[in-house]
């Protein structure tokens, strides 16, 4: 079961018919109250004063990382010892961002572990900046935007990967081959920016390979970006020295917070109601049970090709919740 979860999480692999399906409706796991409760609980941990940074920690875009099979998941789920070293790198990069943001005037730090390799338990708690709140474990409401609320002053993503179908290192986008809002394609950073943007939270910084930084700047405008490597294929890159990357992240995070405090960085907003269109990854789209289940989610209607759906809603958080239900559906054996 764990092995299957791992494969499904990181690669477009579906192994139907091997294990009896868990057909618990996703909304029983992720009801509306769940994500609202998560938000209330995080708010209760936060102080309203000062400047709060919410950092999503992913791994494919870390300095040095190029290979999914060996570096992105632990040994017990088919990976290799190298993954442990990348967990340290992940934590060091997050710490560099926190230190830089602090130098720029940030006072509160929320880190959301956004990488599925160890089921969202990749950041090393004892190595992380002691002032940070760390959201870890899975499942959790709205995956990469758990607990996001208007008290957050800026969103950042570290170690991010480029969008599904792009020529980036280990490029993908949740369970989708494509995801658009009002016709605009969004990657994982873009989806978080969309959910945060509705609450007035601007997106400040993204780090990853050259493809990720270029596409994210195109989606979100003049945010701070840190290009840590140049992709030469989906699994090869010219990587900058980790120590240099840490300095770059520190400086970019400092600039990002200063610019946000000066009001230079605006939230990403779309005209409501939002028309969301998504196409499941080909492997998932071919799986009738996944297709049928996703089709039952509130507001989803089949749209065009097999495995493509559209929904119209006026709540970005509701979109985040559906996204979470889809994630849960495809990860179930």
């Amino acid at each position: 079961m764990r092995g299957l979860l791992s494969a499904a999480l990181l690669l477009p692999v579906v192994l139907p018919g091997q294990v009896a399906r868990d057909t618990t409706p996703p909304d029983r796991v992720f009801g509306v109250t769940e994500w609202q409760l998560a938000r209330q609980k995080l708010e209760a941990e936060m102080t309203p004063d000062g400047f709060t940074v919410y950092i999503i920690a992913d791994m494919e875009g870390l300095a040095g990382a190029v290979r999914n099979a060996t570096e992105m998941r632990p040994e017990y789920r088919g990976g290799e010892p190298a993954h442990e070293r990348f967990r340290e790198e992940l934590t060091d990069e997050v710490n560099a961002v926190i230190a830089g943001a602090r130098a720029g005037g940030a006072t509160q730090f929320v880190v959301n572990d956004g990488h599925g390799g160890t089921l969202f338990r990749n950041v090393l708690p004892d190595r992380l900046d002691p002032e940070a709140l760390l959201i870890r474990g899975y499942p959790k409401p709205i995956v990469m935007s758990t607990g996001l609320n208007p008290m957050v002053d800026g969103l950042m993503i570290v170690g991010a990967h480029a969008n599904a179908g792009s020529p980036g290192i280990i490029a993908h986008n949740f369970a989708f081959d494509s995801f658009t809002v009002n016709g605009v394609a969004l990657n994982e950073a873009g989806i978080a920016a969309f959910i945060g943007g509705e609450m007035g939270v601007p997106f400040l910084l993204a780090s990853g390979d050259d493809v990720l930084t270029a596409e994210t700047a195109a989606m979100l405008g003049p945010i701070e970006t840190v290009t840590v490597k140049t992709a030469f294929s989906g699994s090869a890159a010219a990587v900058l020295p980790p120590a240099r990357v840490h300095r770059m992240l520190h400086d970019a995070a400092e600039r990002a917070v200063r610019r946000a405090r000066a009001g230079e960085l605006k939230p990403l907003t779309f005209a409501a109601p939002y028309r969301v269109r998504l196409c499941l990854r080909r492997g998932y789209a071919r799986d009738e049970w996944v297709r049928t289940t996703v089709g039952t989610f509130g507001g989803m209607t089949p749209d065009g090709a097999e495995g493509c759906f559209a929904m119209t809603t006026s709540s970005a958080e509701a979109v985040g919740n559906v996204l979470n239900e889809i994630e849960w559906t495809v990860l179930k054996p």
């Binding site: 300095a63 040095g64 190029v66 290979r67 099979a69 060996t70 570096e71 290799e80 190298a82 070293r85 790198e89 020529p167 290192i169 050259d210 140049t230 992709a231 030469f232 294929s233 699994s235 090869a236 890159a237 010219a238 990587v239 900058l240 020295p241 980790p242 120590a243 240099r244």
Partner: protein
């Protein structure tokens, strides 16, 4: 490029379950390939060193189990010794650091290290232990394999840990996926092939380290310009008289400094051959027919088949020859 001589085993296992590379790429794939080929390593000012570390010719290694991670495919799982590989990748990283330190002492300012060894799919150097000035090219596939990212901004090309040519009496001797590789009738080893690609960009080879067989054969190809460092003396395909790793590192430090001095004094001409190049390659005897057919089906290149396992490419571009190498690697690694 270590494991080529073992790929046959992998293929024997995989044939029947894995199709060979499709002959026709889609437009999207072609666009993506073109985008990857057009990319450059980030520019840095000052004298630039492009360093290609391999493992078969480094200090101390003699057995392929020492240079394989065991994750290169199902066939390698029992044909490697990961505990040894882990140790040697540390030594590899130290060799690279020693080379960089030597080059720096002679005035080099920018360093790009391109993984030349296929173990762990071109990810052997330890990024966190590498000299903190170096940009590292790691992973697979990559457009020009061993020279991915090189361009005319580099002042020199260095090879450490290189191995001797296929069919020679060197330690773990091989040449990519070939029994024989010639350009205009001249037999080239991996150093020679990549020297030609770099030579077309005006970049010359200043340092080569490896066993005595490798150094002698490379002298025949490239002449006396480069600094040659004998890291071990081959006494068999998997046996050698070796020196202490510390001694090898000291030789690399001094050799790299001398290499940069020679380059900066303009003493080493780039390696060039007459155009058009007639590239003739013979796939390994050990490869199954499916793999040969996979190479024959590479429609991007105007390959002429001149024998059962022999192909000829006539081209004015050594870079195109490099792309062909990457395409063939992708056929045989699958």
């Amino acid at each position: 490029m270590t494991r080529s001589f073992r790929w046959a085993w992998l293929l024997l296992v995989l044939v029947g379950v894995v199709a060979v590379l499709p002959a026709q790429q889609s437009d999207a794939q072609r666009a993506r390939t073109a985008a990857f080929r057009a990319k450059a390593v980030p520019f840095e000012p000052g004298f630039r060193v492009f360093l290609v570390p391999d493992m078969e010719g480094m200090g101390s290694t003699v057995d392929s189990r020492e240079v394989l991670a065991g994750n290169e495919g199902a066939a390698y799982r029992d044909r490697s010794s990961p505990d040894y590989w882990e140790r040697y990748r540390g030594l590899l990283t130290e060799e690279v650091n020693a080379t960089i330190a030597g080059a720096r002492s002679a005035g080099a300012a920018s360093f790009v290290v391109n993984e030349g060894h296929g173990g762990n799919l071109f990810a052997n150097v330890l990024p966190w232990d590498l000299d903190t000035a170096a940009i590292l090219v790691r992973g697979f596939p990559k457009p020009l394999v061993m020279t991915t990212g090189i361009d005319s901004t580099f002042g020199t090309l260095m090879f450490t840990g290189a191995h001797a040519n296929a069919g020679s009496a060197g330690v773990m001797a091989h040449t990519y996926a070939f029994d024989r590789f010639t350009v205009n009738g001249m037999v080239l080893n991996e150093v020679g092939i990549n020297a030609l690609i770099a030579g077309e960009m005006g970049v010359s080879v200043s340092l080569v380290s490896g066993d005595d067989v490798l150094i002698a054969e490379t002298r025949e190809m490239l002449g006396d310009g480069f600094v040659g460092i004998v890291t071990k003396r081959a006494v068999g395909r998997a046996a050698a008289i070796t020196y202490s790793p510390a001694k090898v590192r000291a030789m690399l430090r001094e050799g790299a400094a001398e290499a940069v001095r020679r380059e900066r004094a303009g003493q080493i001409p780039p390696f060039t051959l007459q155009k058009p190049y007639r590239v003739e390659l013979t796939m390994r005897r050990s490869y199954p027919q499916e793999m040969i057919d996979g190479v024959a089906a590479l429609s991007e290149f105007s390959l002429e088949r001149t024998g059962d396992r022999t192909f000829v490419l006539v081209t004015d571009s050594a870079r195109e020859m490099g792309y062909l190498l990457d395409a063939i690697e992708s056929v045989v690694i699958r």
